[in-house]
Symmetry: C2
Subunit: 217 residues, 2 copies
């Protein structure tokens, strides 16, 4: 398994804050693995469309799934669909003395490429398990896997990690020196994602225990 | 101020789960107001691009800002840039007995339209204040506002709410009747956004009190 950075291309080198960009493979993968909701952009009838969708990573491949009736997934049939898949973690609100230097701390990954429908049954099955386990580790084995009818209704789409970059901002505000004595509080308000107490389904058999992978939350 | 729903168009009527779509003005506005990070999609050199950015709403106008050097904001100069702006709240992970019926609870808004650079000084100033106050209410008045040089370096872009829709999923899993007796736990794992303890800047004058709008978090 290579550990070389991803290649920088014309469209993965940002015009702004280029010092925040990274092509480091481990960083890209860590940011992707720490989320499961992405925003997928594609072109429909000449106009951009951005839709939220779930995803998971297997090595250098990302998988997205959905109904065979969905427009972007239909569009991913051969020869594929040009997409931009973006994942963003909001980590903090950066309050500077000056309005201008307000910012956010974030970790984002932007993937450019061609999404292609996966037809191989084994790859499809692995991708679907991985999407479930990526969101709730251990859940795929603790659920009824898709039957033939459900599999036939599910499209799996693959996007290879090749033209991909990360961008990260961390740390405190970068106020100008002449603003440091201003009386405004400055610093960072941390933002995190939290999980609440699991809510059983109304029709759950009452004796069903809460699985360990949920009590850990 | 009208309370009529937004108009449904060919591209705002989803092909899937259309029953989750809404054009209700109050719902659309509430979802937009409950977030401040969106994913903005546009077309560059014939390919889709999706970038995270901050935004705020004023009536039926959305504002996005950034450096005058950023590519999408440069592209919003007259006659404007075709964009799709999407906001998604992840509210819960829906665990069904069947892998197929796993889902997420979410609230999303998708806006299609043309982003146009704002040149009017008063509208620009209001938009910049609103973006700051939308993220941290009360902060615009408690910071040094942008000076002429900073204003000259800041592009403000406006996207009118016209072709816009919301999509919402709430509630528990929708398992098939024949799966209800399966032994797998089913229900919803709630997901929320949380704020941590504010972290003062290293160079903050120690006597600076934490403002009330931050201690509320």
């Amino acid at each position: 398994m290579t550990t070389a950075p991803y290649r920088a291309t014309e469209r993965t080198v940002p015009t702004r804050s280029a010092e925040r960009a990274s092509y480091n493979r481990e960083l890209v993968h860590a940011i992707l693995d720490d989320a499961y909701l992405c925003h997928l952009g594609f072109i429909r009838d000449g106009a951009p469309v951005v839709l939220p969708t779930l995803y998971a990573r297997v090595g250098t491949r990302l998988y997205v799934h959905g109904s065979t009736g969905s427009r972007p997934l239909r569009g991913a049939k051969d020869p594929g669909l040009a997409v931009c898949l973006t994942v963003t973690h909001l980590d903090g609100i950066v309050l500077a003395r000056s309005a201008f230097h307000h910012s956010i701390n974030y970790r984002s990954v932007v993937v450019h490429g061609t999404a292609r429908e996966v037809t191989d049954p084994a790859e499809r099955a692995e991708a679907l398990d991985t999407i479930v386990d990526h969101i709730v580790p251990g859940r795929a084995d603790d659920s009824r896997r898709a039957n033939a009818k459900e599999l036939a209704a599910t499209a799996v789409v693959r996007l290879d990690l090749d033209e991909v970059s990360a961008k990260v901002r961390t740390g405190g505000p970068n106020d100008d020196p002449e603003d440091l004595a201003l009386p405004y509080w400055s610093g960072v308000l941390p933002v995190t994602r939290s999980y609440g107490t699991p809510i059983p389904a109304d029709d759950l058999t009452p004796s069903t225990p809460l699985p360990g992978y949920l009590s850990a939350h």
